[in-house]
């Protein structure tokens, strides 16, 4: 089983040279730490920045420079700042190639639910609905099952959804899976020490297993 860092490390391997990427709050933010330094990628912050740099030192802290999670940040050389309208023009227009975000549930058709639990306090969708409706490629970072052991990879989402048929790939604590265009989770890799059988038992939606499934490499 992967911990949060493990999920982030595995997702970092999906990053290719030249990509513009939006990282959601939580595990996705951690991905930035594991992107190989030889790759030239640009991280977008939907509150108005292309070129997120590392967290600041005490001296570098600027209250006028935060990411979408309201954390203090720095800028890379070659950054650009802009308004929220321009930021989402960029996202909606398909210019941000890859979106990495968390999910509470994903359906076998690629629907994602990650913004609302009815009966609990609702904080809002922020930019998630725009991001999942717009990005060319969407990777989800999530736990395969709830604390109670219930699968979060479902036939159809039980929670209110954030977007329809948009998730392309899932990296969970147990596996890497693709959402097939015709529906279904295609198992690509097992997390270290996790068996195909365990993944089968933890996946409520249709799971497609084609031949021998290798353990993931980092």
């Amino acid at each position: 089983m992967l911990d949060k860092t493990g999920i982030a490390k595995r997702i970092a391997r999906e990053v290719k040279d030249g990509m513009y990427i939006n990282l959601g709050i939580g595990i996705p933010t951690l991905v930035a730490n594991y992107i190989p330094s030889h790759l030239n990628v640009v991280l977008q912050s939907e509150n108005g920045l292309l070129g997120i740099g590392p967290f600041p030192t005490e001296n570098e802290v600027d209250p006028d420079l935060i990411n979408a999670g309201k954390q203090t940040i720095t800028m890379m050389a070659g950054s650009a700042l802009f308004s929220s309208a321009e930021s989402f023009a960029m996202i909606r227009g398909g210019h941000v190639y890859l979106t990495i975000l968390g999910a509470m549930e994903v359906s076998e058709l690629g629907d994602i639910a990650n913004w609302k639990v009815p009966g609990k306090m609702v904080k809002g969708m922020g930019g998630a609905m725009d991001l999942v409706a717009s990005a060319k490629h969407i990777i989800v970072a999530m736990q395969h099952c709830s604390k109670e052991g219930a699968s979060k990879l479902l036939k159809s989402c039980t929670l209110p959804i954030t977007g329809v048929r948009c998730v392309k790939r899932i990296v969970s604590d147990m596996a890497v899976l693709d959402v097939l265009p015709e529906g279904g989770f295609k198992l690509l890799e097992r997390a270290p020490g996790v068996s195909t059988e365990q993944i089968k038992n933890a996946t409520a939606g249709r799971l497609v297993i084609d031949g021998e499934i290798a353990e993931m490499q980092f």
């Binding site: 006028d64 989402f88 969708m125 922020g126 717009s134």
Partner: protein
């Protein structure tokens, strides 16, 4: 050129009454009009509909106006960073309308730009789509969304000149430029007010035509919600 300078937040807000619709710039606590929020608090007007991406925290930003029960309704994309907000929402004292962030930004931009409605893909197939016109263009489905405008827009900039031209700094720009254009009356508070002709015309973020009143604010706190350092264990 036209001089838009007023003495301060009280003068800028002199004609604002109960039950108006306000736009307030900022993302989290970054780029919020601190002086005007303090003046609204002092003025004590109530029944406000506030259009703002967030709702502040318990003891700062719009959170201050929530505590005093001056806000009737919030129109935002992400809220609930504070306990009082949650209490009022759950008890039904506060109305909340949640809008995807990009749709919110574009609806405000449309308000300023005279575009009454446009199609966007955000929220298709979700509960956000309920009651909205759906249409397919080139194989992809979109929702029809309408413009948002306000009686008063209150924005915060880094520098401004006497004709109302504004320059923002860092990610404190966020919703401020679109809101500046979408207010019937737009009030800008700036950290530094300079004479007309001082700012480079090529580098203006908000042209002065959108701003009716401008003043130099004071005592900016610029609170940080998540002070995250290179040495912080995340």
């Amino acid at each position: 050129m036209i001089n838009k300078v007023v003495a301060g937040a009280d003068e800028a807000l002199h004609d604002i009454g109960n039950n108006v619709t306000l736009m307030l710039g900022g993302f989290g606590l970054c780029g919020i009009p601190e002086n005007c929020i303090a003046a609204l608090l002092k003025k004590g007007i109530t029944g406000l509909t506030c259009i703002s991406n967030n709702a502040g925290v318990d003891d700062f930003g719009i959170g201050l106006l929530l505590k005093t029960r001056q806000v009737k309704k919030m129109i935002s994309s992400y809220v609930g960073e504070n306990a009082e907000f949650e209490r009022q929402l759950l008890s039904g004292e506060l109305e909340v309308e949640l809008i995807p962030q990009g749709t919110l930004a574009e609806r405000i931009r449309a308000g300023g730009a005279g575009i009454p409605a446009f199609f966007t893909p955000a929220g298709v197939g979700t509960e956000i789509a309920q009651g909205k016109e759906v249409r397919t263009f080139e194989g992809k489905t979109y929702l029809l969304e309408h413009w948002l405008r306000a009686d008063f827009s209150i924005v915060k900039a880094w520098k401004g000149d006497t004709t109302g031209n504004l320059v923002y700094k860092g990610t404190a720009r966020n919703f401020n430029p679109m809101m500046a254009a979408a207010g019937k009356i737009t009030i800008a508070e700036v950290e530094e007010l300079v004479p007309a002709g001082t700012l480079d015309p090529n580098q203006i973020h908000t042209p002065g035509i959108y701003v009716q009143r401008i003043f130099e604010g004071k005592g900016y706190e610029k609170r940080i919600e998540q002070r995250t350092l290179a040495s912080t264990k995340v």
